[in-house]
Symmetry: C2
Subunit: 557 residues, 2 copies
């Protein structure tokens, strides 16, 4: 009798549950539930206004995902609850909330309903930038070595800037919370009835490391005397490595989900990182790009190396026993969406409509007819700044080589190529710094939909590109961890590597670099490289000066 | 009884005659005649194929302009032929043709009808680039000083590369021609029955100067031994300064045009240069930009200075007694046309249609709401290379500062600003090299149609911008020279300066720089300047390398 595991992938706007056959990775079915509150970025439901760059969620939505998708999934697939041996989850991060000692979110308490700081701060809540700046400055001044594990800079999206913002703007919430927890861990707490803290979010988002723990009291005190004991006060729960079992489904959540009490629950996880086993990566040398509006890169290393511009290196941060590395490109699909919205002439739109093609497909088909180098264009993929390796949000886009003969499809292709150059820059930076890479794995929408783009990536990075076999990479990865949480005895796995080999999936087709195209892209990349350093490393700070001027001018309007 | 002069402006596709009141410049009427043969760039009328980059015309079309427009003009305005005291003309240049001793074009002779080299080579015939390259190389090697008068480089569009091409590819045509003449001079020959050669085309297009004449025999011999006596053999006619009378209407052309025999005819002239008196420029410090698909800049100086990147400095080349300077931007309106054709989204086109606005007007209206610096964009106006001051056809376009919020109207405005920066660069280069400029005069379509663009120009160059008062600047200028050819005794003028003051026209409104905007543009221009030198002066030859790669790749396709 086959056994099954469920993976639940919590995205920015919805949660998706997938039921997977243990041993094969076969996806039996999936259900999606849109968060009723979606992202709150203007007001709370009661009309309380939010500040600029705020982004909140209501944790009730996360519970509703469980109660809506899992029973539906069981019904849809006719799989019996007794055959579901484990459940794993993954979440956006850093998505954090203040809770009481029993896990109750402060926003569930009537007295805090109208206080924005009582809610979940979504990963893209960007209102704590000043806190991040102050934190980085202090860390640099104090020579904090852990800063190097994060490419020299921590992000305003992460845990402590968000927590510090609460302390400053709503000290009553800070005082009232017993724990400040990642939603990734909170959902596990709800499923199992006990708190846990996963090594992935603790490592990548809360400056924790297996060997050194959190930064020292002195550092937090230097930030703000009230933060001196923040770890003991608000983050006291010990950290558990990924691959472990967090606990079992309680009677209460059994009722909510239709699963049996005692079903194994994996430690919380993060959407990008959890995808590694879903694409069968079980060791070093293989970088996975999760390609969507932006791209998140994750890979395994066997030692801790300091790589400039990476988002983080965390021991046990992706798979146990490895150092998990993360890097990112802040704008990938968003480039192409911007182009389509702002730069595609009416005649093209009409022709696409006539051909019954999506405009991206239409442009890609035209662009596919071009040879590398034929457009004469090179762009810098910085329309939304640069995450890795420059870590500079104030960089902006550039395109070069236009003539009166330049066509829209050439510019569209140049933007795709630019993101590929950006990926190559990341790969080269890892390799140069002692974390060699031999293969590129891709998951996410672009990897599935745009064969031209993926061939360009293969040619530009001059490495084979393998494509995720599942459209639901994160949910499949979460289910794999669910099967591991169950353990071999219950029909699952005792270690995640065996589960990965059995249940991870890749498409059969691999994009192999074409040597002729790769040779041309070598030349084009050299141009990108010169421009990358010229505009990105201080030789000409035109982009920053223009951005400053833009702000000054707009302020006067 | 008022007297009148006629100006005939020979463009690339049609000729336009304007009848102007002497003393006031009032335009009584105008008539246009499209050349029946237009531009021949694929085949001759008999099907003979033309090479790549060829552009020919049939001189019969120029005669047809006279016979169609002048009688119609007299009829339309009810002006009597006896009250027309003079006629002036202007032509595109260098537009040249081989003729017999009596002025008969070789292409009129049956034996040469099928020989492309027997026809008029239009200014934009670009098939003699190898000749221009060889000529420049030899001139540099021999240290020819006259090369500096042309910004260090002569163009493939000019007279000797075109003549040399004939010698090489059709020696029988070279041998058969008695003169190689500018169409500007040929039309005067037709009107007056005698040959003349004007100082403008001789100076700007045939390397002639008042003080030194043509380059020496030794130079031509070094190019090609067969060219040693080219001046005596094919360009023997002496050069006459602008402002002189070439002759009078013959009985034959009187019949053709309806004008009276004896009517004064001015020396031939060129479309850009002839516009100077039409906008009342009669001295130094005032630069005129004739703004169309490209921009031609002309201005007067009181001494010969070597200005890097200028197209030429010619004594008596614009107005007698002055050194006429010419510079150019190879792509101005063409940028905006390219943008509209390739980068304007369907939604904008629809909104423009709905508002009943031309798309340029629609974009300009949106762009006009932006403050300088608000877009954060800077572009280099090199979509068609750079004429002045870098003289480099291999440069290409660049735009910088794009974000995911960048809108089409911001990019459109950035292109307009880029052309204004290009103009400022030319003005600064003249000023730095001893030819100071205090005012900018603009004529041509853009100057009349786009108030936003002209205000941007004023703010960027931080000088007042005055606008031509006539939509037919060149024809008005030609008529002014016609009135001067007639002389005071016949009711005209004895010098062109008096005629300019009376008959030249400017619009009442002047674009005055806004100090606040000018201050922001100062900062933006500094960014342009850095990028201009970085990409344009060898620090990063990315544009050239990409263009070379593009050619290599295309050749393999």
């Amino acid at each position: 009798m086959p056994k099954y595991a469920i993976g639940v992938d919590y995205g920015s706007l919805s949660g998706r549950a997938v039921l997977v056959e243990v041993g094969t990775g076969k996806e039996m079915g999936s259900c999606v539930y849109d968060y009723p509150h979606a992202v709150m970025d203007k007001t709370l439901p009661d009309g309380t206004k939010l500040g600029v760059d705020w982004a909140l969620q209501d944790p009730q939505d996360y519970l509703d995902v469980l109660s809506h998708t899992i029973p539906a999934l069981l019904e849809k697939t006719s799989v019996k609850a007794e055959d579901v041996i484990g459940i794993g989850t993954d979440f956006t991060a850093c998505t954090v909330l203040p809770v009481k000692a029993d896990g109750t979110p402060l926003c569930f308490l009537p007295q805090y309903k109208s206080n924005p700081h009582a809610y979940v701060k979504l990963w893209k809540h960007h209102a704590a930038q000043d806190k991040a700046n102050a934190l980085n400055e202090t860390a640099e001044k104090m020579g904090e070595e852990w800063l190097q594990r994060y490419g020299g800079k921590i992000s305003s999206e992460w845990e402590f800037p968000k927590l510090w913002q609460i302390l400053d703007e709503a000290p009553e919430i800070y005082d009232a919370m017993d724990h400040f927890v990642e939603a990734a861990d909170w959902i596990i707490w709800q499923l199992t009835g006990k708190q846990s803290r996963n090594s992935c979010t603790a490592g990548y988002k809360a400056m924790w490391s297996k060997r050194e723990g959190y930064p020292a009291k002195e550092f937090f005190k230097a930030l703000d005397p009230r933060l001196e004991n923040v770890i003991a006060d608000k983050l006291s729960c010990p950290v558990t490595p990924l691959g472990e079992k967090a606990g079992e489904i309680t009677a209460e959540t059994a009722e909510l989900t239709g699963l049996l009490p005692g079903t194994a629950v994996a430690i919380g996880n993060v959407d990008a990182h959890v995808t590694i086993p879903a694409v069968k990566i079980d060791g070093v040398g293989k970088i996975l790009g999760i390609m969507g509006t932006s791209t998140c890169h994750v890979l395994l290393g066997d030692a801790e190396k300091i790589v400039p511009g990476m988002c983080g290196v965390v021991e046990d941060g992706i798979l146990p026993g490895f150092f998990g590395y993360e890097a990112g490109q802040s704008c990938v699909g968003d480039h192409f969406a911007w182009f389509v919205e702002n730069c595609v002439p009416a005649a093209y739109q009409e022709a696409a409509n006539k051909a019954g093609k999506d405009i991206h497909v239409y442009l890609s088909d035209l662009a596919a007819e071009l040879l590398p180098g034929e457009s004469g264009l090179v762009a810098l993929d910085w329309w939304n700044g640069n995450r890795s390796v420059l870590v500079d949000v104030d960089l902006t886009g550039m395109m070069l080589g236009m003539t009166l003969q330049t066509k829209p499809e050439e510019m569209y292709r140049a933007l795709i190529e630019a993101t590929a150059y950006g990926t190559r820059k990341i790969i080269e930076t890892f390799t140069k710094n002692g974390v060699p890479i031999h293969e590129f794995y891709a998951s996410g929408g672009i990897s599935q939909k745009n064969a031209m783009a993926m061939q360009i990536y293969a040619n530009v990075i001059n490495l084979p590109v393998k494509i995720a076999g599942s459209l639901q990479g994160p949910a499949l990865g979460a289910a794999i961890f669910g099967a591991v949480a169950a353990g071999k005895e219950r029909g699952g796995y005792d270690d995640v590597f065996a589960a990965t080999r059995d249940m991870g999936k890749l498409r059969d087709d691999v994009y192999i670099p074409d040597p002729k195209a790769a040779a041309v892209y070598q030349k084009l990349y050299e141009e990108y490289d010169i421009l990358h350093d010229y505009f990105g490393r201080g030789a000409n700070d035109a982009m920053k000066r223009l951005k400053t001027l833009k702000k000054e001018v707009k302020a006067q309007k």
